[in-house]
Symmetry: C2
Subunit: 433 residues, 2 copies
Amino acid sequence: MSQSNTADVATYMQQVGKQARTASRTLAAANTGDKNSALIAIHDVLVDNKQDILSANKIDMDNGQKNDLEAALLDRLELNEDRFEGMLQGLKDVAALPDPIGEVTDMTYRPSGIHLGKMRVPLGVVGMIYESRPNVTLEAASLALKSGNAIILRGGSEAFESNQAIAKCIHQGLKKAGLSEHSVQVLQTTDRAAVGELITMTEYVDVIVPRGGKGLIARISNDAKVPVIKHLDGNCHTFIDSDADSKIAIDVSVNAKTHRYGTCNTMETLLLDDTIADELLPKIAEAIVQADDAMQLRLDDKAQALLKDNAKLEGHLSSATDEDWDTEYLAPILAIKIVAGIDEAIEHINTHGSHHTDVIITDNYTKSQRFIREVDSASVMINASSRFADGFEYGLGAEIGISTDKIHARGPVGLEGLTSQKWIVYGHGETRA
Amino acid sequence: MSQSNTADVATYMQQVGKQARTASRTLAAANTGDKNSALIAIHDVLVDNKQDILSANKIDMDNGQKNDLEAALLDRLELNEDRFEGMLQGLKDVAALPDPIGEVTDMTYRPSGIHLGKMRVPLGVVGMIYESRPNVTLEAASLALKSGNAIILRGGSEAFESNQAIAKCIHQGLKKAGLSEHSVQVLQTTDRAAVGELITMTEYVDVIVPRGGKGLIARISNDAKVPVIKHLDGNCHTFIDSDADSKIAIDVSVNAKTHRYGTCNTMETLLLDDTIADELLPKIAEAIVQADDAMQLRLDDKAQALLKDNAKLEGHLSSATDEDWDTEYLAPILAIKIVAGIDEAIEHINTHGSHHTDVIITDNYTKSQRFIREVDSASVMINASSRFADGFEYGLGAEIGISTDKIHARGPVGLEGLTSQKWIVYGHGETRA
């Protein structure tokens, strides 16, 4: 399809929306076996059409190189043998997950005589907007199918040919399994107006899941009329309490900062209680710098005073500015602040953090419980690395994303995030008095 | 406070938002006893200041009469002895409810060694926009307090004096119990621009709960950047299947239609399987008309053919138009349609309904289960009146509202709707490999 103007895009998107809504009704009623059969059928079609998909990806890669796409973007765009195998394995993994749909809980008799409970059901239609990563097309489609949702996919335009080739295979697989091809629709246009339509079609779309840079997500979330499950910042803290075990304080700090830099659950600010800072801060700082020689430490005045003459840290230190407390570096940079105790630590985290994942290192019972209770973040931890805030580490099987919202889904979101619960009533002729 | 321009309103609302956010931190950490003490303290202050509140309400009532307010609006605005007693009882009832906050569930060890679970916590700050009903001010404040949320209240301007008088008592009660007065803020302006600020202050407000007419709620929900828990239509159906028990079909239909008209869980459309329509429809129609002589029945062609010569129904019949299938009457009017079976019934309900509450009357196992599974509504019932879709009938203790959304809260919403769950991790020094 080629789009000549906005009216055409609107008409096209209305059609896509209607088809998705219709398909979602069938999918909601599909049993677990049928959904799994579809996933395996898609797997088999992909195996048979591997060369077509890799050829389509080559066109995208060639275009990307011609258009001077950044190396990092080209890397994400590429479908090599390993990634293709990963896609195939992903389909089998999702097929093996338990089906979240149909779970009935809390059935209880009410005084009126009705038997009341809740049933887990699909949300209906998911809209997904993401970068030029063709493997995400398949991953999102499989998670939607498993949870009984129809999905409309809008990947980055640089991956257009790859996504269309994958879509063709998905449709063949759906057909083989007797499910509607409209269960998974990959948009056949790269017109940006399509995104505007997708995020405002409340009649046809039940939830939007955007993936990409913070700017894109903030824009989508600002313009959307459809509810958005979104992830913004990951400005995570570790607070070393006065009653911290030294070894745990050092091990967890090093892991939370240096295990990976580009992840949202990486520590960005280290807070230390001032009564133990002079003993523990040098040890932690040295261990972190030893783990990565490129590490930069941004220090408040007190930390600066404690570390400035430390020969092992030479060339790694600078003064923190106010901005540092609010920054997600995603880089070998760590902000360090000395606080007067747990009150200041909690206040700092709730004020400057992004409510993502925050950690206390302590052996004190009362303070551990206060931290768990009072820190307003999606994940709150005692004596563990913030890097554990992850769908796979949490045992969700698959991860739709990590939500920094409080409504609906919070923190790592599994298949359950694409479901809702309806009330069900089993009666025997009851009427209301 | 008097507002001279929009900039002033914006500044005022920023201040209100900041105060609410700060108060919400204290409230989130307040224990159950303190929250209950505050509710009882507010109760006692209200008892002591009854005359002041009734006097303030008299000013509102006099103004309302001067401004030719509709009788129905004046009725809702009035605080008489009964309503005042109801408000007092409401505070005691909410104090007696279990505290939803702090509940820990699903604690489980992960292979990494961390002990992972979920803790129920307040959302933070609730914004409530509602009509000129002063008793709602107290009800909303008490539900927010109990669930550990700060609340910003924007009631209808006709109730301004009553609401300010009630706010004064709430603040005294909060103070007596040692909680921040900013836990409950009743806006001191009737400027409409304040609503626009309230629903877009994502930094300070976590959820908006609007109450009022459908037009108002649709407008708020369209303009809001803060998530909205909303209720739009209640276009509820009862489907009489070919295997229905006649007595249950008649009893439930009469109750669902005639028990109350202004409620969102009232039946608006009756669907009948065509194989039993000629036997059952006359009985049901006669019983409904007998229950209320003002009843109007709007019939499709087949129903019309079955009922047109029925002397008992003379003057009660007319032909349905397409619009009738999409209409919430909130009046003694019932649309009736004959369908070819459960497939057409489910299709009709999912297409024309408002996904609120829908009922099947049947003694057939397979069809009862298909209806429960395939009807995409917040409440789906077998052999019971749709009038049961209600927070009190569902045992929620208190009702924040009824949600027609699928995200976060669906159907009748209790205190739990004002909470979220955060992940908690108890570690022992674990780091990620």
